[in-house]
């Protein structure tokens, strides 16, 4: 059922940077520039017409500068210390040979993916929907590493630090933490040294990064160099002050308001992304249009993707691509044949194994996190 007039809110949904300048960084394809120092680069949307995101197209997010641009594996070590029986200093070879290599396909999505669409606008990286990627990771299980080090009784959390460093001593180093309980319960947390069959691009964390399947990318520390086991909850800036969401069931508050209490962001919610056609495209009457994109969640796995061309009144299931596991992008596709000229809004929503789906109205929080409103593209049929 088409609309008679172009939709009023179409232009509002252009993120500030959508279609912004493209730049070329080492080992990278042309990506959308957010910032240059430290580099923040977004993957153009058309790459999400397939389940695996190529390494050269994988987005880049850093917080502090300088970042490592040169790593010598002869001297690089992953140090494991703190509350452990046997502190470790692991070379890349150690990681590869002393622990069984584990393979896993998992989505890495920035907590602020889609922040550019928040209304009212919020400060922070004005990402469109390309601050995400899906790759096959190979690495050592963090559990195996922690067992080799021998966690002492009383251990509560482990912190993760990488080679990036603050420009000034007053800027907090980028350090993240996870609970020991999480790490010992989840065998899929990896120290990954391989991405889509190749070494990690420098800007994606060479030589090794943390992979925390199902959790937002803020935990996937790059250029990992130090793991410290603590007997208390870590209170560093990037845990205690940043990456906080409202302590409400939806992680959201009334738009423009301030939450009473906040908690650290953790697991990803359900999303479906439309890679093609582009918002605003013109298509021909009675000719099939191919819709493509990906769907994912925080680790239950996508069971169903549906599509609507009538503002959500009716939905029909679309075709799903191969299943690469519950942490992976699930490719989806549909053929749509417009039968009447006019203006259409196509919407796509996903549902996961737990029965969770996506809201029709966007959730809002001051950090610009957790975006998972049903995405849509507006088309003109002529």
């Amino acid at each position: 059922m088409p609309f008679l007039h172009p939709l009023q809110d179409s232009a509002e949904r252009d993120a500030i940077l959508a279609g912004g300048p493209l730049v070329r960084y080492p080992e990278k394809a042309n990506l959308i520039l957010l910032t240059s120092r430290p580099p923040q680069l977004e993957t153009p949307l058309h790459y999400f017409d397939r389940a695996i995101t190529p390494n050269e197209a994988f987005y880049v997010r850093y917080h502090i500068f300088p970042i490592p641009t040169r790593v010598d594996l002869a001297t690089w070590r992953l140090r494991v210390g703190g509350l452990v029986e046997r502190p470790l200093e692991l070379s890349l070879d150690d990681l590869k040979t002393k622990f069984p290599p584990t393979r896993l396909v998992a989505v890495n999505q920035c907590s602020g993916n889609g922040r550019g669409y928040f209304e009212p606008h919020v400060f922070g990286g004005q990402w469109s929907n390309g601050a995400m990627g899906n790759a096959e990771w190979v690495g050592a299980r963090l559990q195996d590493i922690l067992r080799a080090a021998g966690i002492k009784p009383g251990a509560a959390e482990a912190t993760f630090n990488g080679l990036d460093e603050p420009a000034a001593p007053s800027v907090p180093d980028f350090v993240k933490s996870l609970t020991v309980q999480h790490l010992m319960e989840d065998p899929d947390v990896l120290v990954a040294y391989q991405m889509n069959g190749a070494e990690l691009p420098m800007l994606n964390g060479f030589p090794a990064r943390l992979v925390v399947p199902g959790w937002y990318a803020t935990y996937w520390v790059k250029h990992l160099s130090e793991i410290m086991v603590l007997d208390h909850a870590f209170e560093g800036f990037w845990m205690a002050k940043a990456y906080r969401i409202p302590d409400t069931p939806c992680g959201c508050v009334e738009p423009g308001s301030t939450p009473a209490r906040s908690v650290s962001i953790q697991r990803m919610n359900v999303r479906a992304i439309i890679a093609t056609p582009k918002n605003g495209a013109r298509v021909a009457l009675a000719r099939p249009v191919t819709l493509k994109g990906v769907a994912f969640d925080g680790g239950y796995g996508i069971t169903q993707v549906e599509f609507s061309d009538d503002r959500g009144a009716t939905w029909r299931r679309v075709e799903l691509g191969p299943d690469f596991g519950r942490y992976s992008f699930r490719e989806w596709s549909a053929l749509w044949i417009p039968k009447t000229p006019g203006y259409y809004r196509l919407m796509v929503r996903a549902t996961n194994r737990a029965g969770e789906s996506q809201p029709i109205e966007p959730l809002w929080n001051p950090g610009g996190y957790l975006r998972n409103v049903i995405e849509r593209v507006d088309l003109t049929v002529a």
């Binding site: 009023q8 809110d9 179409s10 232009a11 509002e12 252009d14 500030i16 940077l17 959508a18 279609g19 912004g20 730049v23 070329r24 960084y25 080492p26 080992e27 520039l33 957010l34 910032t35 240059s36 120092r37 430290p38 580099p39 502090i64 500068f65 641009t69 040169r70 790593v71 010598d72 594996l73 002869a74 606008h121 919020v122 400060f123 004005q126 603050p166 420009a167 000034a168 001593p169 007053s170 800027v171 907090p172 070494e199 420098m202 800007l203 060479f206 030589p207 800036f237 002050k241």
Partner: protein, 120 residues
């Protein structure tokens, strides 16, 4: 051609000689230059922004925000000073906030490429 071939074989020789050490153990990239400050709109206070706001990060951090009124920018500059330790005096902060609010005010939320921004 000849020159290229010579270079190539020289390159190979280097790889062979160094195989055990450097060549295989080092990965290095060169980042493009940070030209962001050139993008700042002219106006009183732009020099203070260049001097004070490009110490820890490029100024595209500032330009690529949705924009804000003086209150919004004041909060942002205050955050830089109190949370991250930016060495900005109160006097400079005032100049910077005025510059940002006038050059990167709330109406600057659409970049030039997006047509048809609608009145709300």
């Amino acid at each position: 051609m000849k020159l290229a071939a010579a270079c190539l074989s020289l390159g190979l020789a280097l790889v062979l000689v160094n195989r055990a050490e450097e060549k295989t153990t080092v990965k290095e990239i060169k980042l493009p230059p940070d030209d962001a400050a050139a993008e700042l709109k002219p106006g009183p206070g732009v020099e203070a922004v260049r001097a004070q706001c490009a110490i820890c990060h490029s100024t595209d951090y500032i330009v690529r925000q949705p924009g804000g009124d003086a209150k919004r920018w004041e909060a942002e500059v205050k955050k830089m000073v109190t949370v991250f330790g930016a060495p900005t005096s109160d006097a400079d902060a005032k100049v910077i906030v005025e510059y940002l609010a006038s050059r990167y005010g709330p109406q600057a939320k659409k970049s030039s490429h997006s047509k048809a921004a609608r009145p709300r």
